[in-house]
Amino acid sequence: MGRRPTLLLGLGLNSAAGLLSALVPGFYSLCFLRFLAGLGVGAILSSLVTLATESSPPSKRGRNVAFVGCFFTFGTVYVALLALWFYGGNPTEKVISWRIFVALCALPSFLGTVMVYIYVPESARFLALQHRHAEATKIANHIGYAMGFRGQELEESEIQYHHSSYRPYHTTRNPAISFTVLKQITSIAMASISKLYTPEILPKTLTLQVVWMTLSFGAGLSTWINVVLKKMQVSNLYYNALYYSLASIPGNLAAAYFMDRMGRKTLMAFGMLGASMSLLYFSKVASDFMNTEIPNNDTNASIATLCACIFHAFVVIAWGTVNVITSESFPTEVRSTGLGVCAASARMIAMFVQYVNGALVDQPDVLLRISSIAMLIGALFSMTLRDTSFKPLKDEISFMNGNGKDYRNLDHREDDYDELIKNGNIEMKDDTNVDFV
């Protein structure tokens, strides 16, 4: 299945689940629709980056993927503005139903579905890998024309030259489902995952997993931040929620600015430590409020909101950095699997933490303190990571030199790796094989 159909399927699922959520009779049907929306999000996130990457010239890949990534903030701000418009001036919150709100939240997905359907062609690279050379050529020329290029068009023979020796990506379109084949696929998957736990990279894998899981644990608070602020009787809740959403803009800018200047490792620890400290102070404010039993005043409310916004900005820095440091830490042969395993662990924790947050929502100070501790643990673990800034990407877990000597025992040392490159024992390969679960 191509990138474009996957993306459209994800967007369609998202839009349908969002719209149908407005009509649900009860709780469990809503849960089912939220699960379907999640399936859609998973499909979108996986195919979106690949499609943006493969439709971009190599020198502008980073810029284009970042441009597409910026729209995430647009989505969160849209939801916050919608809530402000619906409920901002309405203390009872009962005039406009949450059902209409949920239905309108599906609007960006719906718009995305229509726009992708009209304007986004399948990835030419994907078609070329499937030996669909004529279609690939047509799409590549379409994109070239859209870029404003009026020179000599790409010819089918050029794509054939580069792609004819490749095995088709999916060997068959409608394979028979058999237990044996499924077993084989599972064993291939397990073999690839087990490579992550070989002694050479085991410490790296486990450290990164802890960082992803603690970050996901702390960031799980985002779903409950309005409930927490409401428990603290913060007035103008929806203005505060808007500020909270907007805080991701400075977060993104800071991540982009400091990524190379500060180095990934320091920025990762800085992001998680900053998030931890802001939550710690937030919990102190919440604790003061809970213990004094007097109505919350505006100063406390402003400090609580400010802490939440700072927390969000730091979380955005940490999410941005963890993706980069993870994809750079794993060698090419396990990079995608490594990212997948880390992201999957994070998703599992994201599910688990909702129960922790739900259980502690009546004690916001405790909830905030626990999230703060999780972030602190993540910050400490990220300090033990090796900085990957300006380091060449590794391709394999172990290397052989010209004499066939195994460098397995040395390859975890960056100096040796640099030495190998200098001596021409190994070569750097261009790698674009980075995507997210």
Binding site: G38, T113, M115, M147, L182, I188, F436
Partner: protein
């Protein structure tokens, strides 16, 4: 003669230039990218951007729904501990499974052949 050398010969005879890869071609085509900032290529990126904002809206709207009084009273019946948590967890469960199913560049891509 392999396919590759055969194709290379065809190319050499035809254009007398080395065959361009997709990356080469996109690079060549985008050489004046900045001057054509209004080019329809940007609509492609904006369309992908809207797709991205769609999933952002789906992920974040629960924050507002959970804090909505009408919702808490009529759907959650005031139960944040079990129902609120389950509802908030559902989307991440879906994301986990959805992500695994469509990961083209890993071994998991084969699963998508079976399931879609």
């Amino acid at each position: 003669m392999t396919d590759q050398t055969k194709n290379q010969n065809i190319m050499t005879e035809k254009t007398n230039a080395s065959p361009r890869s997709l990356d080469d071609y996109y690079e060549q085509a985008s050489a004046n990218d900045l001057t054509s900032i209004a080019s329809s290529y940007w609509i492609l990126l904006i369309a992908l951007g809207f797709a991205n904002s769609g999933d952002a809206a789906e992920i974040t709207n629960m924050n507002f729904v959970l804090s909505n009084e009408e919702f808490a009273e009529t759907i959650l019946l005031g139960d944040f501990k079990q129902k609120g948590a389950l509802l908030a967890a559902c989307i991440f469960g879906g994301m986990l499974l959805g992500g695994l199913l469509v990961r083209h560049k890993t071994q998991f891509h084969l699963f998508s052949v079976y399931l879609f």
